[in-house]
């Protein structure tokens, strides 16, 4: 075993770093949870795409560089270390794209992926419903057969970035008589500005419209926007949740960069006599390193053909990064003392900025992408082999 990167890997890192140094905006873009910020982030996606940095791991024909998972990890480390903008395209890139690579048609890939890579079409995930959160298979919104396609009706909710996005992908009940709840579901893509769609933004904890609910009234979707076979939606969608929880949604670079910023904050503001806080800073740094090495090990397994990690291992990942993220931000707020209470837009907010929004967002981590309670059950049952509980 070794942890050394090859010369080619290091050369890739340098190339990424140089590009970012020349392109990352000097002043942070406005929050992407605002109309203005959304537009600025779209421009940024376009700039990334122009030099093929928006989707490095995709095949070149769709705008990527065919980079290995190792290079993707390196790219992400450099991206976050450079303080580059948050990715407004992330739902599409991390959730829809892998699904289309696995289950889509060539026509769908050609139509959807390049526009996604360029930030021209921003995607929202429309899975949850008011009564169907953890128990997603209980969803009731429907897809009814129509000439040449389907008619969608029902209500979706908590759809991230749907307030400003262009299109959505989601699950609908196409066969109410299928017997089991997770049978008879169909996975479809639909435009958010289509006739019959009403989008109502919902303010998250800090009031920003970070998600929205969608009311669908007989929204027509052509057959070419069905992903995979009708009725097979559950199986197809579940192949995406692994991506959501696993490596790709939250790369270690995000946390190593945040841990570096936290360390700087400690050196600047920390009271050396406050050993309890010092220990928490150290724990966050250690946690980020553990997550990074764990991810490198997982990537090695893929690269050296030792079998991809079991799907349930993605649950370990999800629990780890979401709890690390909160600990990291709580520690930062404690370090900031009386300034930790300020919102990011307060005139006195520390110039390092972003800790308040980062904290608020971290609190959602144990809820989305499958709550941590559900993930712990999955770990206990599938990785430890404990008896299945009532569910």
């Amino acid at each position: 075993m070794d942890l050394d990167l090859s010369e080619a890997d290091e050369a890739f890192r340098t190339e990424v770093r140089d590009w970012l140094a020349a392109h990352v905006p000097a002043t942070p873009l406005p929050s992407l949870e605002s109309a203005e910020g959304f537009a600025a982030h779209r421009d940024w996606e376009r700039e990334l795409a122009a030099d093929r940095w928006s989707v490095v791991s995709w095949p070149t024909e769709y705008g990527g560089r065919g980079a290995s998972i190792l290079h993707w990890l390196i790219f992400e480390e450099e991206y976050f270390a450079a303080g580059a903008p948050g990715r407004v395209s992330q739902n599409g890139i991390h959730l829809l794209a892998p699904t289309l690579f696995a289950h889509g048609t060539a026509e769908q890939r050609a139509r959807v992926l390049p526009a996604m890579a360029r930030g021209e079409v921003i995607w929202a995930q429309a899975w949850s419903e008011p009564e169907s959160g953890s128990d997603l298979a209980s969803l009731t919104s429907s897809a009814r057969r129509a000439a040449g396609g389907w008619l969608l009706s029902g209500q979706k909710t908590w759809s991230s970035r749907a307030a400003f996005a262009d299109r959505a992908f989601g699950l609908f009940r196409s066969d109410p008589d299928a017997g089991k709840p997770h049978h008879g579901l169909t996975y479809l893509m639909f435009p958010l500005d289509a006739e019959g769609v009403t989008v109502r933004p919902i303010g998250r904890l800090d009031g920003r419209p970070a998600f929205a609910e969608l009311f669908l009234d007989e929204v027509f979707v052509p057959d070419e926007d069905v992903i995979g076979e009708p009725g097979q939606g559950w199986r197809i969608a579940m192949s995406t949740t692994g991506d959501e929880r696993g490596l790709t949604l939250r790369s270690p670079g995000r946390f190593t960069a945040a841990a570096d910023r936290l360390t700087a904050l400690w050196h600047e503001h920390g009271d050396p006599a406050d050993t309890a806080l010092r220990d928490r800073v150290a724990d966050a740094v250690i946690g980020a390193r553990a997550y990074r090495l764990f991810s490198y090990a997982a990537a090695s397994r893929v690269l050296h053909d030792e079998g991809a990690p079991a799907g349930a291992a993605a649950s370990l990942n999800k629990i780890y990064w979401s709890e690390l993220d909160i600990a990291l931000h709580e520690t930062a707020l404690d370090l900031l003392g009386p300034y930790g209470e300020l919102a990011d837009h307060a005139p006195d907010s520390p110039a390092h900025g972003g800790w308040a929004e980062g904290y608020t967002f971290s609190l959602a981590g144990p809820i989305y992408a499958g709550t941590n309670e559900i993930q712990r059950d999955i770990v206990a049952e599938r990785l430890l082999g404990l008896p299945k509980g009532r569910r």
């Binding site: 919902i202 209470e341 307060a346 608020t360 809820i367 309670e373």
Partner: protein, 328 residues
Amino acid sequence: MRFLLDAEQREFARSLDGLLTSCDTPAAIRAWAAGDHAPGRALWARLAEAGVFALAVPERYGGFGPLPLDLSVAFAQVGRHAVPGPLVETVAAAALLDRLGDADAAGAHLPGIASGTTVASLCLTALGPYALDADAADTVLVVDGDTLRVGARPGPVQPSADPGRRLSRPSGGTVLAEGPAVAAAAAHAAGLAALATSAQSLGVGRALLARTVEYVKRRTQFGVPVGSFQAVKHRLADTLLALEFAEPLVHGAALALAAGSPDADRDVAAAKVTAGEAAYRAARTALQLHGAVGYTDELDLSLWIRKARPLRDAWGTPAACRARVLAA
């Protein structure tokens, strides 16, 4: 010994609870956050009428205090209903002016505080640069070292993570007193503020727990109430445990303050850190167990969730409190 609230104190708590339940405090908080103080001031008047502020003011100035234990009882209800405004700061200002021993100053401010016509804010710069809700206050006091200034002007509002808290840096004002008496009075005021804040935290935590327990009984997933899952039950049981063990520390600290005990500072610090952390844990649990709906600002729950952390840190951070516990 009888380490229990007496019947009168329990009745006081019940009546405040009833009063505040009928007041639509969430609407008052949302208005307060938007800079409209009228509903908050109306609430303030009702609390004054119920005697809450008089508990911090001695009889000769129109009050019937100082009664730290009764204040704790009242502030637990203030927290339970997330009442907006500088309530803690106002009772702390009363304690400061009372302890200062300047009859003119006390006579000028304390009757108004007791009757509810004077809303005060107080900034001890040793604890932080901000005064809470100074833009809504009738008088702003600042203690800088051993100088006390009154009539300070509020600076521009610095939005807090909790929109119901409006912070600003006060400036100016006239020097009212200087010297060691100021420092001693300020320390006394900080103790009462920390006590009231811990009681308020306790109330915030209790409200979060109660709402979450109701929610997990109603919310069904997988065909059963989510409250029937052990992971959910255990988190709520732990929340209760933390609050139940914080409460005696708060009551004990109130008694120590009332008795002028030499251990009062230690006891208040212990209460503050424990109640603050218990309420913050309760907020994290409430958010987690409400799932995504708890993460929306439309649900009133968010008003309590966002209070918990600033209260944990106000008037003594957990680290500062722990240090005081050991320094005693």
